[in-house]
């Protein structure tokens, strides 16, 4: 009897322990990568050409999708609010509400998730394929540190680009909100602008942009980590992309929660 209880406790520990250990291994891997990236950044030692290529690939090519997302995000906020705005005649709140929500929360978060889906997953797949086809070994055989040559440029590019794309996205989302406001909630452009400019502060923008940079860092680290640790051929690449997107989304939501508390 006592033996049976002991075994089932053992099984329980094993069942809980294995995923926890696996999680710890991934988190440890990401932290190690973080230190190795920082190590290459102070003083800066990385490949400039590679950085330029990535800035272009990750940033410029993401503009259309980001603009589209941001425009409709701004619009949706106003559509949701329109019912109450009309009911209570609260037209003077629309510009403020849209600006506050977009700048501080919805903009960075949605664009971060979008960026993770568009750029992060692509990055994981690319690095994973390089592992599978021995390109990483090829670099190391030529004494090129893959972290310095491949990862640091990608991490930098993702932080910079998500930051810049969020600025662009913020502007487009506000334009979208103003436009939808005039069409759907009878809020004139002028009153939208007054409400927006009097109540939304630079601090709100900064709050959101700090988040964007942190989200960029999270997407970068998770996508690079899962890409560079791919095991087991093409199937492994698929699994890694999946894990990377899930981890990035979790990371974004968690850090958003913490940052919202911590930032003014």
């Amino acid at each position: 009897m006592a033996g049976r209880v002991a075994t089932s406790f053992g099984n329980l520990f094993a069942a809980v322990g294995a995923p926890v250990l696996a999680l710890c291994a991934e988190v440890g891997g990401i932290l190690t990568l973080l230190f190795r990236v920082l190590w290459c950044l102070v003083p800066p030692r990385f490949d400039l050409d590679e950085t330029w290529r990535n800035l272009h690939k990750m940033g410029v090519k993401s503009v259309p999708i980001i603009v589209l997302t941001a425009f409709f995000t701004g619009g949706i906020m106003v559509i949701q609010a329109a019912v109450f705005v009309k009911k209570f005649g609260a037209t003077s709140l629309v510009g403020w509400g849209a600006g506050y929500a977009v700048f501080r929360e919805v903009g960075p978060m949605l664009l971060g998730l979008m960026f993770s889906g568009r750029v992060g997953s692509n990055n994981t797949a690319e690095l994973g394929t390089m592992v599978v086809t021995e390109q990483i070994d090829g670099l190391r055989a030529l004494s090129i540190d893959p972290v310095r040559y491949l990862l640091v440029p990608r991490v930098l590019s993702m932080i910079v680009m998500l930051f810049l794309l969020t600025i662009l996205g913020d502007v487009v989302a506000i334009l979208g909100a103003a436009l939808f406001g005039t069409v759907l909630a009878d809020v004139s452009l002028a009153s939208f602008w007054v409400s927006f400019s009097q109540n939304v502060h630079v601090a709100d923008v900064v709050h959101g942009l700090i988040k964007a940079a942190v989200f960029g860092f999270i997407v970068a680290l998770t996508s690079c980590h899962f890409g560079i640790t791919v095991k087991g051929g093409a199937v492994g690449v698929g699994r890694a992309v999946n894990n990377a997107v899930v981890a990035a989304a979790l990371g974004i939501v968690l850090s958003d929660y913490l940052l919202t508390y911590a930032l003014p």
């Binding site: 290529r53 086809t133 055989a141 030529l142």
Partner: protein, 246 residues
């Protein structure tokens, strides 16, 4: 040139190389054969310092590699040119840039024109003139192999390692590739290690053979002595018999 003594390597908690000792004289030509997953690729990657063995020593040109930190391995790796089993062509670089890549790392002073000229020359030698501007994804399997060979040999390194240089190629191309490898070898008197599952073609090319099975050496010596080897695994493998321990 290369000396391994009692090398043991464990990867993901599984022993892959076991107490491996091997001595390669400068200028010798070795073939590594063995069943799949016997550790052939891992062994040659260990030689250029991509894996660090847990036990044993590895001397390359007199330098002990296993205790050397990663940055200090540069000089040793300069002495080696390697063709990987999957070619490892960088898909973000054009064919000629791939070939010129090791050269550019070795000598940053070289201009782009010079690099292109040297790469073009090497590509002509492997029969790929005209493919300079292509991307690796536009090449056939055999073409990729030859680009890989061009890249492995462009620095005229004293040690050349070819992991499956003829896998998936027809007999004519195979013999052309071995002619090319022989030509390169005699011109630069390099030490050569070749892994192949095409045993007859490989045996025509090499002088010595290392037979690996489950990370252990079953035969090490002149190619001609392989027939006389008593080990049942070696016996079955080189004759391609269906019956036996494998």
């Amino acid at each position: 040139m290369i000396r391994c003594a009692s090398l043991s390597l464990t990867l993901s908690h599984r022993p892959v190389l076991h107490e491996l000792s091997w001595d390669l004289a400068a200028g010798s030509v070795w073939g590594i054969i063995g069943p799949p997953a016997s550790g052939k690729s891992v062994l040659v990657k260990t030689l250029c310092g991509l894996f660090t063995p847990q036990r044993g020593t590895l001397h390359v040109d007199g330098v002990e590699m296993t205790r050397l930190p990663e940055p200090a391995r540069v000089d040793v790796r300069r002495k080696m040119g390697m063709l990987f089993q999957n070619n490892a062509l960088f898909d973000f670089l054009r064919v000629w840039e791939n070939v010129a890549f090791p050269l550019a790392r070795q000598d940053p002073e070289l201009s782009r024109e010079e690099l292109a000229a040297r790469a073009g020359e090497r590509l002509r030698a492997v029969g790929l003139a005209g493919s300079e501007e292509k991307w690796p994804s536009e090449l056939s399997g055999g073409m990729k192999k030859r680009v890989g060979i061009a890249r492995a040999t462009i620095c005229n390194a004293p040690v050349l390692i070819y992991d499956e240089p003829t896998a998936g190629l027809d007999p004519v191309t195979t013999s052309k590739i071995y002619d090319l490898l022989t030509d390169l070898r005699t011109r630069h008197a390099s030490t050569v290690i070749a892994i192949s599952s095409d045993i007859p073609a490989l045996r025509r090319f090499v002088e010595n053979v290392l037979f690996l099975h489950q990370g252990r050496v079953l035969y090490r010596g002149p190619e001609a002595g392989l027939e006389a080897c008593e080990d049942p695994v070696v016996y079955q493998f080189i004759r391609g018999l269906g019956e036996g321990p494998l």
